[in-house]
């Protein structure tokens, strides 16, 4: 896998993978298990490729819970996926 960070949902405690583009943009995340949308800093546990980090540290960008009306364009992969 190229780059991911694993996030634990504050509601159901399920853990799921997220691409760093969401980290950098500071988006709310969607728990695939319980459907809860939550700001990243509410996650009780975030694990990166370099080790565990807790919410509230310097990684968070943007306002908690807000979704920009026009989000920044994610950096595209320079290679193909899927088929």
């Amino acid at each position: 896998m190229a780059q991911i960070f694993n996030v634990t949902c504050p509601g159901c405690r399920g853990t799921f993978p997220v691409h760093p583009e969401l980290w950098q943009a500071g988006y709310d995340l969607l728990c695939p298990f319980c459907g809860r949308m939550f700001p990243q800093e509410e996650s009780p546990r975030i694990v990166t490729g370099t080790g565990e980090q807790r919410p509230g540290s310097a990684w968070r960008g943007g306002d908690a819970g807000s979704t920009p009306a026009r989000p920044p364009d994610p950096q595209p992969d320079a290679h193909a996926e899927g088929m």
Partner: protein, 496 residues
């Protein structure tokens, strides 16, 4: 005319052991379709599965039956393209490659001649919840449509169709994941002009249509022409409900959803169980606002079991002939190319050659790696090894490889972001395994039971299964007599 119902009926008549029916209601959004498929896979089966009473997203039995796992066996892909199942190995690959080089212009028909226009829904009537949309794996956040959106290049007018995943987000809203390939290019062109991108999602059609969408024609080629060639007949098109003649959709499809991708809007999408058999992460992706839905009165909903053979075979089959033809220009003795299911039909490539000089193995492997960036490991074997048989491939690696001489490692090459073993976002490490015999020195021959001996004692006539009564002597097969009378001198046991 391509008709999904006709395909299913003819295939079932021809290959009844390779099709199953599920008559009881199941809930696709609660993993119950993939649960059935997984259980079949667990016992080594990959039949086409027709669910007659799947539930829709309202929780009711849907008006649409659901067919899936169509592509999980190469025999069905051959059948879909009009080839006998016996041609499902490399002959199918070569035929796909031959057709891919041709073009058959589409034929535009009126709405009255188009089965897909039998039912047209707009506005609030165009509700995605009427469909039995499948949630595939436990970490998928929602049901996904995983078939082929069609887009149109605003500069050339060429249509492009490609398998993409679309997450259910609401009755008239889907999330859309794209990689930077052809549909992504089309969307970018629209976004740069501040325009929405028109999209027609072909959710269900004859499988020849979907196999045709897997072509690797250059960007700018019209996919409707290529699909027609691969399917073997001109693709019939009809005006869309939303944009009329400015955007044509397949007239013989079962279901087509029309919509628009608003420019510069992204929302969270995923995670999603992807082709390697692992999850791709949650990302920021495009959305589709649904504008209309077209379907036949008797439409069947279609789905691909992504991350399994149904998905894998489609990813590999269309590439095999292209690689073969490129190798043949440099290594004329190449005999077959296969992207095996065991390598998710993308990461591994098996090549067999009739090697005339040492060095041809590497030459062939370099071409493979240069041709398809997804391929990570190349295994080159002699022509006596069936590249479609994993056991034979592993036998060749076991008996013809000395690792210090036969394996080459290439670092920092372009890879695939979904390969979970990659440590770099883009780059990967490639490997070439030369499992061919050396040409310049004697090498132990492969053991062999003489074919003429097998011809003398055909298994179907000579083998009696346990529990089957011994036939009366009068029932014995004509021509069988005392062994000593039928063994030719050449078959005599040699002295030790």
């Amino acid at each position: 005319m391509l008709d999904l119902r006709e395909f299913i009926a003819r295939y079932e008549a021809d290959q009844p052991d390779h099709m199953v029916h599920v008559d009881r209601p199941v809930d696709p959004a609660a993993f119950e379709v993939t649960a059935v498929l997984q259980q079949l896979e667990d016992v080594g089966r990959a039949p086409m599965a027709l669910f007659h009473r799947p539930r829709n997203l309202f929780g009711e039995v849907s008006r649409f039956p659901l067919v899936t796992n169509i592509y999980a066996e190469r025999g069905r892909c051959a059948h879909a393209l009009g080839l006998p199942v016996s041609q499902a190995k490399f002959p199918l690959s070569l035929e796909y490659g031959r057709r891919e080089q041709q073009r058959i212009p589409p034929t535009v028909v009126s709405a009255a001649e188009a089965p897909v226009k039998q039912v047209v829904q707009r506005g609030d009537d165009a509700d995605l919840r009427q469909f039995p949309i499948v949630r595939h794996h436990h970490m998928d956040p929602a049901p996904y449509i995983d078939m082929t959106p069609v887009m149109k290049d605003p500069d050339t007018g060429a249509y492009n169709a490609a398998y993409l995943r679309m997450m259910y987000k609401g009755p008239r809203k889907l999330g859309l994941h794209m990689s930077p390939r052809h549909n992504w290019q089309i969307t970018r062109k629209h976004e740069e002009r501040g325009l929405p991108t028109r999209v027609a999602i072909v959710v269900s059609h004859h499988p020849a249509f979907f196999l045709g969408t897997l072509n690797v024609a250059p960007f700018g080629e019209d996919d409707y022409e290529v699909i027609g060639s691969i399917a073997g007949s001109s693709l019939r098109l009809v005006a869309s409900e939303t944009w009329g003649d400015e955007f044509l959709i397949p007239a013989d499809a079962d279901i087509v959803i029309e919509g628009e991708i608003p420019p510069n809007v992204r929302e969270v999408e995923g995670p999603f169980g992807e082709f390697p058999g692992t999850y791709g992460p949650q990302r920021l992706r495009w959305v589709i606002d649904v504008t209309a839905i077209n379907f036949r009165h008797d439409a069947i909903y279609q789905d691909v079991f992504v991350g399994h053979a149904d998905d894998w075979i489609q990813g590999g089959l269309p590439k095999e002939a292209r690689i073969f033809n490129r190798i043949k220009g440099v290594v004329p003795g190449v005999t077959a190319v296969h992207l095996p299911v065991s390598g998710v039909c993308r990461l591994h490539c098996n090549v067999s050659i009739d090697k005339k000089v040492d060095g041809e193995s590497r030459q062939a492997a370099f071409i493979v790696l240069g041709e398809v960036d997804m391929i990570k490991h190349v295994f080159v074997v002699d022509k006596d090894v069936d590249v479609f048989d994993d056991r034979q491939m592993l036998w060749a690696i076991a008996t013809r490889v000395q690792a210090d001489q036969a394996i080459d490692i290439i670092r920092n090459a372009k890879g695939n972001t979904l390969d979970p073993s990659q440590t770099d976002p883009i780059m990967t490490t490639k490997m070439i395994v030369d499992a061919t015999k050396p040409v310049q020195r004697p090498f132990s021959e492969r053991i062999l039971v003489p074919q003429e001996a097998k011809d003398r004692v055909p298994m179907t006539e000579f083998v009696r299964e346990s529990g089957v009564p011994v036939p009366a002597m009068g029932d014995a097969v004509a021509g069988t007599g005392p062994v000593s009378a039928t063994v030719p001198p050449s078959a005599a046991i040699p002295e030790a």
